[in-house]
């Protein structure tokens, strides 16, 4: 059966190997991406707060 339908056998093998590997890799690298994203958003919030504070001082 493998010889007769080698194309689908190879696709199945590629899917199982690729998906297993990518899941582990993305699970590790994605955690770092989330940390970076939240850190950048936090920095943005701090910058906005300090700008608002500065402009508040000027106004009053």
């Amino acid at each position: 059966m493998i010889g007769e339908h080698w194309f689908w056998w190879l696709v199945t093998l590629a899917v199982v190997v690729w998906y297993s590997t990518v899941t582990i890799y993305v699970a590790l690298k994605g955690t770092l991406d989330i940390r970076q994203m939240l850190r950048r958003l936090k920095e943005g919030e701090k910058q906005r707060d300090s700008r608002a504070e500065t402009s508040g001082r000027i106004t009053f």
């Binding site: 056998w9 993305v26 970076q36």
Partner: protein
């Protein structure tokens, strides 16, 4: 009899608790509409891969791809291969997605505004929302059917399961928008992938590749492996799927939202090229489950719903513990899809359909309106999902409803990016054609007097005709408009 033990319940409960907590915790970072709709454009490659993969695989995906495997064998994987090829080349070349991301827009119709004017933006928004919500309308019921069948629960719990599932998703999507969607998508990608790989490995180990291939050979012959040798498929099926999936990669708002939320266009392109092969997995893995159902349960009896074959097979095949992992994986898949889709169509309603009415709104008011829109979409889905009677196979329904906007939006986007002569007359003609043909087909399919005509035309020819007509409408409409008349484009 239920096949769902306390071990399975604990696994599912743990998963639900973790997702809800994570989804709600990140809401504190949402202070602007841009954070809510595109996560402040801070998404990086791997988070993008996880989010795109999780969004584009729901229980509904699992059901129709398994149905494809059950009814068409390995040839049913062709749409996934078409999508993988299209996505890889679009990512590699940056075709349309590079100018789209570089433009800094939050939705596709916003880009049309710059070239074709506010009316086209509004019309495009309406068509996108119409096609998208009709498409998503069957998600809930299908998801509920899977959970009830696989766990062996009483069918009377289907509506309750649907409502609870939707309410849970709505809570964190309303609170955290795209930020909650991205973070929960990541968790859901890991849980979903673990479940998919585990169940597939179990099937391949216990049923075996040879038995799966021989089952397809016995029931479908060469047509189960080669779509061109299958009388139900042939070139119209392959061509329609190639057009549909290329269009989906270019303009399906849930997919393109990942490009728009990316840090820059290069990140968006990397997300596309590196996620492309997932779309083969997306069709082949449940396809194998469907073939395994055919091998163990046999072909469906006349009148039996082939959509239910795969969950019925899994309900008896999986041991306790693995059943819990599967249900958690499927819940993860469904929640990520539902949250992303609600946010996506909500973003188009806010950004484009409400564009003429929201001048001078504060960020706070914008966030409030966005949240209200998502809640209303949830209510619509609940009622539409309960009463719409699905005719024919699920993938075809999704293809036809998706074509309502995919055909016209794809032509508009390509013309907007690469054809200088394109104008608002051509755009309007393309939108009308793109929505008209599939809606007529859906109506013909439901009305008894025209049902046989719809059956003769078939969804594939009707789909191909839509793409051709829309392209012709854009060209003819654009050439009909006198060249000296200026385009009245107005940016909000």
């Amino acid at each position: 009899m239920t096949h769902f033990s306390w071990v399975d319940g604990s696994i599912v409960g743990l998963y639900l608790f973790a997702t809800m907590t994570v989804g709600i915790v990140v809401r504190k970072h949402v202070v602007k509409v841009e954070h809510f709709l595109v996560a402040g454009r801070e998404m990086n490659v791997y988070l993008g891969i996880a989010s795109l993969a999780a969004t584009e695989f729901g229980i509904v995906t699992c059901m129709y791809t398994a149905q494809n495997g059950y009814e068409k064998g390995f040839a049913g994987v062709i749409p996934g291969i078409c999508q993988a090829v299209a996505m890889f080349f679009i990512g590699l070349t940056g075709f349309c997605i590079k100018p789209l991301r570089d433009s800094g827009v939050m939705t596709i119709p916003e880009m049309f505004d710059r070239r074709f004017g506010l009316r086209i933006r509004w019309s495009a928004g309406v068509v996108i929302v119409l096609g998208g919500l009709l498409n998503m309308g069957v998600f809930l019921r299908t998801g509920g059917e899977f959970l009830v069948l696989v766990c062996g629960f009483d069918v009377k719990y289907l509506e309750i399961a649907m409502t609870v599932l939707l309410a849970g998703v709505a809570v964190y999507t309303i609170l955290g928008g795209m930020l909650s969607v991205l973070v929960t998508d990541f968790l859901q990608f890991v849980v979903m992938s673990a479940g998919l790989i585990l169940v597939t490995a179990l099937i391949l180990a216990s049923i075996g590749w040879d038995r799966l291939a021989s089952t397809v050979q016995t029931h479908y012959g060469a047509g189960g492996f080669n779509p061109f040798a299958n009388p139900q498929m042939g070139w119209p099926y392959v061509l329609f799927n190639l057009l549909l999936n290329t269009a989906a990669c270019l303009t399906w708002q849930a997919v393109i939202a990942r490009v728009l939320a990316a840090k820059d266009s290069l990140t968006g392109r990397k997300v596309y090229t590196r996620t492309a092969f997932f779309f083969v997995c997306r069709f082949l893995i449940p396809g194998i489950w469907g073939i395994a159902a055919l091998a163990t349960l046999g072909p469906a009896a006349p009148g039996e719903n082939t959509l239910h074959a795969m969950p019925r097979f899994l309900s008896t095949f999986l041991p306790a513990g693995v059943m819990g992992i599967l249900v958690a994986a499927m819940l993860a898949a469904d929640m990520s899809t539902d949250s992303s889709y609600m946010l996506t169509w909500g973003s188009v309603i806010y950004n484009d359909v409400l564009a003429p009415f929201r001048k001078g709104w504060s960020e706070r008011r914008g966030l409030l309106v966005n949240r209200a829109i998502i809640a209303l979409i949830g209510v619509f889905l609940l009622f539409y999902g309960l009463w719409y009677p699905l005719k024919g196979d699920l993938w075809t329904y999704l293809g036809v409803t998706g074509t309502i906007y995919l055909s016209s939006m794809t032509v508009l986007l390509i013309a907007c990016c690469y054809w200088k002569r394109a104008n608002n007359w051509g755009a309007a003609a393309a939108i009308l054609c793109g929505a008209g043909v599939p809606i007529c087909y859906l109506i013909f399919e439901q009305v008894p007097a025209t049902r046989s005509l719809a059956g003769k035309i078939g969804p594939y020819y009707s789909g191909i005709a839509t793409y051709l007509l829309v392209g012709a409408a854009m060209v003819i409409g654009s050439f009909l408009k006198p060249r000296n008349e200026p385009i009245k484009a107005k940016t909000l």
